[in-house]
């Protein structure tokens, strides 16, 4: 019997990453901008997404949403009120979405007919950070009720995100939320991150968010076009 050490140097989540890469390729080819929304439970992802979907639809843009939850289809029902295609992903107790689940749920959708795809991850600030879902943009949402130090407590997820949205700004004062400190804390764990403030209730900040979204879409289209020329 020989005992030897075999060098492997392989990512543990290689399989997920490969599926995510394939998915990203398909979505780019179809011209879809995909966003992965992460936050703690109760940060207001669904209300915020509802308003986002509705407004985009009113502006003539084609959107769809996948929503991940451990159980129930309550969120999908809420989002479907926006009048866009919505599918619920039940993770059966799993605390995060994986690329395969996203891929499976997209199987019978015509991606070519979409401008934006939103994937609402399971409310959890730990596990979703490890899993690439094939998204272009990872958005982390932080509500004013959670306190300013959340980014310091969960640096991984904030660090893995591209854009931070501070939600429920309409009740910021009642919560004695210190916006400046929250921004400083986000910047401490992710220097240079774009940070926006919104309220799904009053609609404040939504215009800035939608401009940001349009900008991301434009950038993605240019990158895809440039790759095709090459």
């Amino acid at each position: 019997m020989n005992t030897r050490v075999l060098e492997i140097r392989k990512g543990i989540l290689n399989k997920n990453d490969e599926i995510a890469r394939g998915l990203r390729g398909r979505l780019h080819q179809a011209g879809v901008l995909t966003l992965n929304l992460v936050s703690s439970p109760g940060a207001g992802k669904t209300a915020w997404l509802q308003l986002t979907l509705r407004t985009l639809r009113e502006r003539g843009l084609r959107t769809a949403a996948l929503v991940g939850d451990l159980a129930t289809d309550n969120d999908a029902n809420r989002l479907a009120e926006s009048g866009v295609p919505v599918k619920q992903i039940n993770t059966d107790g799993r605390c995060h979405l994986e690329a395969q689940m996203v891929s499976d749920h997209l199987a019978d959708w015509d991606l070519g007919g979409l401008d934006y795809l939103f994937v609402e991850n399971v409310g959890n600030l730990v596990c979703p950070s490890s899993y690439d879902l094939g998204e272009d943009v990872r958005v982390v949402l932080l509500s004013v009720t959670e306190g300013e130090d959340k980014p310091l407590k969960y640096p991984n997820i904030f660090n893995s995100a591209d854009i931070a949205i501070i939600t429920k700004m309409d009740i910021a004062e009642a919560c004695e939320f210190d916006l400046e400190t929250a921004i400083a804390n986000i910047q401490a764990v992710r220097p240079g991150m774009q940070i926006l403030t919104t309220s799904a209730k009053s609609g404040a900040g939504m215009n800035d968010w939608l401009s940001c979204l349009a900008h991301e879409k434009q950038a993605r289209t240019l990158i895809t076009a440039a790759r095709e020329i090459q």
């Binding site: 019997m1 020989n2 005992t3 030897r4 050490v5 075999l6 060098e7 492997i8 140097r9 392989k10 990512g11 543990i12 989540l13 290689n14 399989k15 997920n16 799993r94 605390c95 995060h96 730990v126 596990c127 950070s129 490890s130 310091l152 640096p155 991984n156 997820i157 660090n159 893995s160 910047q187 401490a188 764990v189 992710r190 220097p191 240079g192 991150m193």
Partner: protein, 122 residues
């Protein structure tokens, strides 16, 4: 808590490599774990025992190499190690940096395996 699913993925990747190499047993597994990997070492070690049961990896030792976060500092023109994941600033000159060069690893580095001699196999 996603460490158990991570442990199962680890066992899958390591088991496949071991099988391809013709191993009859895996003695140890060395993992590179970055401080930003989002994986808790203790929880993973616990999950490892469960995930390895009845596989080539049963009874093997999990060795974890913890890697701190290293970023590139433009001011210092070098890669520096962060003092804390709550502070993405150069420990030398205090310039903010998000240019991560190490710390996201969740990687199987190597496995120690038993392979039968060719003469034994005959």
């Amino acid at each position: 808590m996603h460490e158990l699913s991570i442990a199962y993925s680890l066992v899958e990747v390591a088991g496949q490599s071991a099988q391809e190499a013709g191993a009859t047993k895996v003695l140890s597994v060395t993992l590179r774990l970055g401080a930003l990997s989002g994986v808790v070492r203790g929880a993973l070690e616990f999950g490892y025992e469960v995930a390895t049961a009845d596989t080539l990896l049963a009874g093997s030792t999990l060795m974890v190499k913890e890697l701190p976060v290293r970023v590139y500092c433009v001011e210092c023109a070098q890669v520096v190690e962060l003092l804390s994941v709550q502070r993405f600033r150069c420990p030398v000159c205090d310039t903010p940096s998000g240019d991560i060069r190490q710390g996201r690893e969740l990687e199987l580095e190597s496995i120690e395996i038993d392979i039968p001699d060719k003469s034994e196999a005959r």
